[in-house]
C-alpha cells in the first residue's frame, strides 16, 4: 500500500470541506473494496478521508411509503433491521447474501453504490426499487446514477448521504453466487410497484447493472414465473469470463428472474 495522509471528519460538511484543501483525496467507507485495491496498488490516494465517524451518515428510517438508509449503514445492519425486514424484506435478504459475516460487519451500502462494481448486489436493488441516491449536493434517480462498470453520476468530492427506497408491493432478489468470491455471477432483483414492474440485473452485463426490459414487459401483464416461459435475454451485452460465458449468463438471467418472482409471489 502506498503512503497516504489520513483524515477523520465528524460531519459531512467537514468531509466535503477537506476535498478542496487536500491533494488527490479519496473517501473511505467500509473499506472492503478500497483497502484491498490499495494493497494491490491499483489505487493510491494521497489523502484518505474516513467517513466512518460521521454519525449523520448512519441509520435506517421509514417514513410513509419510503425507506431511507444512511450511506454508512453496514450490510449486517440492513440485513438485521426490523424496519427493513418489514418494509422491504427482499432488501434485507440481499444484504445477508453479500460476502461473509465479517465483510457484512464492515461493508456499507453507500460504499457499494458509489463503487458500482459490476457484480455488486445493491445496484440491482437500487435500480429495481427505483431508489433515489441522495448526496450532499443533490438527489439522483437510480436510472441516472449507474453509468457503466465502476462508473456513476457522482462528481468529484460528492458524498452519498443516504439511499431512499420506495416500498414496493412485492419484491425479491435471486442470486447465483460465485462460490469462491460470493459475488453475483448473476443476480436479479424483481420489484412490483403500483405503477409497474422493474427488473434489474447485476453480475451479467458487460456494462454493469441494467434493467431487463424483456422481463419487465413479460411480468407487467402477469407477475408470475410462468410469464417468463420462453422469454430470453440477448447475450450480446453479457459479460463473458472464466466463470461463465455470455450465453450461460443470458440463460441464468431468465432463470434467476423466475426464481425471484416465485419468492416474491410466495411472500405475498
Amino acid at each position: 500500500m502506498y503512503a497516504f495522509e489520513y483524515h477523520r471528519p465528524t460531519s459531512v460538511k467537514e468531509a466535503a470541506g477537506l476535498i478542496g484543501q487536500v491533494e488527490d483525496p479519496k473517501f473511505l467507507a467500509g473499506g472492503h473494496t478500497l483497502l484491498p485495491t490499495m494493497k494491490l496498488r491499483l489505487a493510491g490516494p494521497a489523502n484518505l478521508i474516513d467517513l466512518g465517524q460521521i454519525a449523520e451518515l448512519r441509520g435506517i428510517e421509514r417514513s410513509g411509503d419510503t425507506l431511507a438508509i444512511g450511506a454508512m449503514t453496514k450490510h449486517a445492519e440492513v440485513a438485521n433491521a426490523a424496519e427493513v425486514k418489514e418494509a422491504i424484506p427482499a432488501l434485507a435478504e440481499l444484504a445477508e447474501l453479500i460476502g461473509d459475516p465479517h465483510v457484512r460487519n464492515r461493508g456499507t451500502i453507500g460504499g457499494s453504490v458509489a463503487n458500482n462494481d459490476p457484480s455488486a448486489d445493491y445496484p440491482a436493488a437500487c435500480l429495481a426499487l427505483n431508489a433515489t441516491i441522495v448526496t450532499n449536493r443533490r438527489k439522483i434517480a437510480a436510472d441516472d446514477f449507474f453509468q457503466g462498470i465502476f462508473t456513476t453520476a457522482l462528481e468529484d468530492g460528492e458524498i452519498i448521504t443516504q439511499i431512499v427506497f420506495p416500498i414496493p408491493t412485492q419484491a425479491a432478489y435471486a442470486k447465483f453466487r460465485n462460490p469462491a468470491s460470493r459475488y453475483a455471477l448473476v443476480g436479479v432483483f424483481v420489484a412490483k410497484h403500483a405503477d409497474g414492474v422493474r427488473v434489474a440485473v447485476t453480475g451479467a452485463g458487460s456494462n454493469g447493472v441494467f434493467r431487463a426490459s424483456e422481463i419487465e414487459q413479460a411480468l407487467s401483464g402477469n407477475f408470475a414465473a410462468e410469464a417468463l416461459d420462453g422469454v430470453t435475454v440477448s447475450e450480446a451485452e453479457m459479460n463473458s469470463d472464466i466463470h461463465a460465458d455470455a450465453a450461460y449468463r443470458a440463460h441464468l438471467v431468465s432463470v434467476m428472474a423466475g426464481r425471484a418472482v416465485q419468492t416474491a409471489v410466495a411472500r405475498g
Binding site: 500500500m1 502506498y2 503512503a3 497516504f4 495522509e5 489520513y6 477523520r8 473511505l28 473499506g31 472492503h32 483497502l35 484491498p36 490499495m38 494493497k39 484518505l48 474516513d50 466512518g52 449486517a76 460476502g99 461473509d100 459475516p101 465479517h102 465483510v103 460487519n105 464492515r106 460470493r182
Partner: protein, 164 residues
C-alpha cells in the same frame, strides 16, 4: 504519523502509526499479539478475525486508525485467569484443528456466531456462518462439532459471554 487510541483485551493502548498500518499488523507487530494470524491478506480466509466493538471483522481489511476509540478483543483476550474460554476448550476437546493456523479466527468467528445466533446451533447454521473462515486441513467436520459444543459451553458460562 497518526495517533490511534483504543482498548485491546481490556487494556488502553495509544500509539503513533503510519496511517497505512493494518489493524492486524498493529496487533501483531506493535502489541506483539501474534495469536491473530495473517493467512490470505485479501479478506477471504478469516485467520485474522478479531472482535471490533463486539463484532467479528477481518483485521487485515481494517486500518489501525479506523479502530480509533474502539474496543478490540483478540484470541489472547478470551481466556480468563488461565482457564480457556468455553469455545477454546471445545476446539481442544473435539480436536477442531490440525495445523492450527486458522484456529484463532475460527474461534473468534464461532464466539460471534453464538453471540448472534444463540447457543443451540445446528450443523447447517454453523457451516453457513463459517463461510468466511477457511481451513486447509480438517474438512471442517471437527470444527463444526467444536462450535456446536462450544456454543453449549458458553450457555453454561453466561457471565463470560456478557463480559466479552
Amino acid at each position: 504519523m497518526t495517533t490511534v487510541s483504543l482498548t485491546v483485551n481490556g487494556q488502553s493502548v495509544t500509539a503513533d502509526v503510519d496511517p497505512r498500518t493494518l489493524l492486524v499488523q498493529f496487533l501483531r507487530d506493535n502489541l506483539r499479539l501474534t495469536g491473530t494470524h495473517v493467512g490470505c491478506d485479501t479478506s477471504q480466509c478469516g485467520a485474522c478475525v478479531i472482535h471490533l466493538n463486539g463484532q467479528a471483522v477481518k483485521s487485515c481489511t481494517v486500518l489501525a486508525v479506523q479502530a480509533n476509540a474502539s474496543v478490540v478483543t483478540t484470541i489472547e483476550g478470551i481466556a480468563e485467569g488461565g482457564e480457556l474460554h468455553p469455545m477454546q476448550a471445545a476446539f481442544r476437546e473435539h480436536h477442531g484443528l490440525q495445523c492450527g493456523y486458522c484456529t484463532p479466527g475460527m474461534i473468534m468467528s464461532a464466539i460471534d456466531i453464538v453471540n448472534r445466533k444463540g447457543n443451540a446451533l445446528d450443523e447447517q447454521t454453523i457451516r453457513a456462518e463459517l463461510e468466511g473462515n477457511l481451513c486447509r486441513c480438517t474438512g471442517y467436520h471437527n470444527i463444526v462439532k467444536a462450535v456446536a459444543a462450544g456454543a453449549q459451553g458458553m450457555a453454561q458460562a453466561p457471565m463470560r459471554q456478557a463480559a466479552e
